[in-house]
Symmetry: C2
């Protein structure tokens, strides 16, 4: 499971304040804690204040790359900010762009960055018409994104399709739609990855973390092999650890048993 | 989700002792607690002592039917004990037989009981050669059981196929085999049910309840619609509740929200 740690996101108040205060310790620790908890990639979103987003991205990428030696996902709605983050990186890991999609010319503006910096990329199933409404919307846009990216020379295994999770509290069919979409996308591109941001699924419900971790295990049973989540949620990560063992991705359950001994499953 | 409460099982020492002591309160409360916790069916296995199993079954069925008005699954390796339990029942619920399979003439001896008492039935994927070894063994025996039962006049919706869960600690591929088998069995008989006993999956591992509840959510994502479990495991039942909401089986998430308000998801 490729866990993309979502915690460095300036739309969260605490992160935004630490960013304005240029609190290096805060960001260093947040990167290290996520890596320690099992993140394979650290997402970096500095999109709180458009006026300073670019310099904030450059500064934050600098802190993260000194704190941990794992890939960073530069995450912005603004392609100029993505470029600034990619150019600021001095490490030896391949980076990730979060994200490309078909909305408002974004595909054409982000693809050159994917190619120039040879990054991995989150491909969000937004079409020219915006958000997907049905399972078929999700699968069709996913296929078009995969086709367009691979035709442009991006390797299938560098594409992380995000089928866009929507709240089950708004429509009871949304959960099953996403699960079915995950299966179909994985079937279309077995070498490719399927990822998703989880937390929207539980929007408006009580005990959201229970819904999120239950959904994550269910989605893994349908082919999800990455997730954009809070790796500091220890119960969520315990579910991932158990699910990996159950899917045969943890030979002799050694990682699971080790996590148990380290007290990570309590 | 059709939860078959497994707690009244005389192979557990406490239950066996209460049975020998004819402790009515123990069995009444164990039935009521399971029903209260969400069991739809109460399994009844009195197979501790072969010499008294039949009279133990008759006595226990009598206690359960007075304690709760939900179906009982009579559970024995001995068809004569199954018959005794079915004959002892005086309530108005349809009963279940746990289980029929193809091993050593069991199919021919149990089928007449299914028909005479018009019961539902757990169909365990044991063939004439015994335990299944692969996913294909499971699916093939399941198809044969479904075909043989429906040809004998049993309605598909009265059949609960159990694909037999084996420990992932013994073979890392077992989890995925079971999940794939569940999908294929459900696809073969969409009106039929797929159930399973869970706890074997985690045999030999630490934090077994975590593995069990994670597996249950994953199996539900693949089509499992029943399980033979301990409904007094509140975290397990919370996972089931969240998974039902995620699968669109809980309109407006009302059951989930109610369970949260009742403190059942904590």
């Amino acid at each position: 499971m490729i866990i993309i740690g979502e915690n460095i996101n300036a739309t969260h108040k605490k992160v935004s304040e630490a960013l304005q205060a240029r609190d290096e310790t805060f960001f260093r620790e947040l990167a290290q804690q996520q890596a320690e908890a099992g993140a394979s990639v650290i997402d970096c979103n500095t999109g709180a204040q458009p006026a300073t987003e670019e310099e904030d991205m450059i500064w934050t990428v600098g802190i993260i790359q000194d704190a941990v030696n794992i890939p960073i996902a530069v995450d912005s709605a603004n392609p100029a900010v993505l470029r600034a983050g990619l150019e600021a990186y001095r490490g030896d890991q391949r980076l990730m762009i979060n994200s490309i999609n078909f909305e408002q010319g974004r595909f054409e503006r982000v693809l050159p960055l994917v190619k120039e910096f040879h990054t991995q990329v989150v491909a969000l199933v937004m079409s020219e018409q915006g958000m997907p409404r049905t399972k078929d919307d999700r699968v069709n846009t996913a296929r078009r994104l995969i086709d367009a990216l691979t035709q442009a020379g991006v390797a299938p295994e560098d594409i992380f399709v995000d089928p866009i999770v929507t709240p089950i509290g708004a429509d009871a069919t949304f959960g099953r739609q996403i699960l079915d979409a995950i299966s179909e996308i994985k079937e279309y591109s077995p070498q490719g990855h399927v990822t998703c941001g989880l937390s929207n699924v539980s929007y408006g419900l009580p005990q959201r973390r229970l819904v999120n971790r239950t959904f994550l295990a269910m989605a893994m049973a349908r082919g999800l092999d990455s997730a954009i989540v809070n790796p500091l949620d220890s119960q969520l990560m315990a579910s991932v650890c158990a699910a990996e063992a159950l899917l045969g991705q943890d030979e002799f359950c050694l990682n699971y048993i080790g996590a148990s001994r380290a007290g990570k499953l309590d």
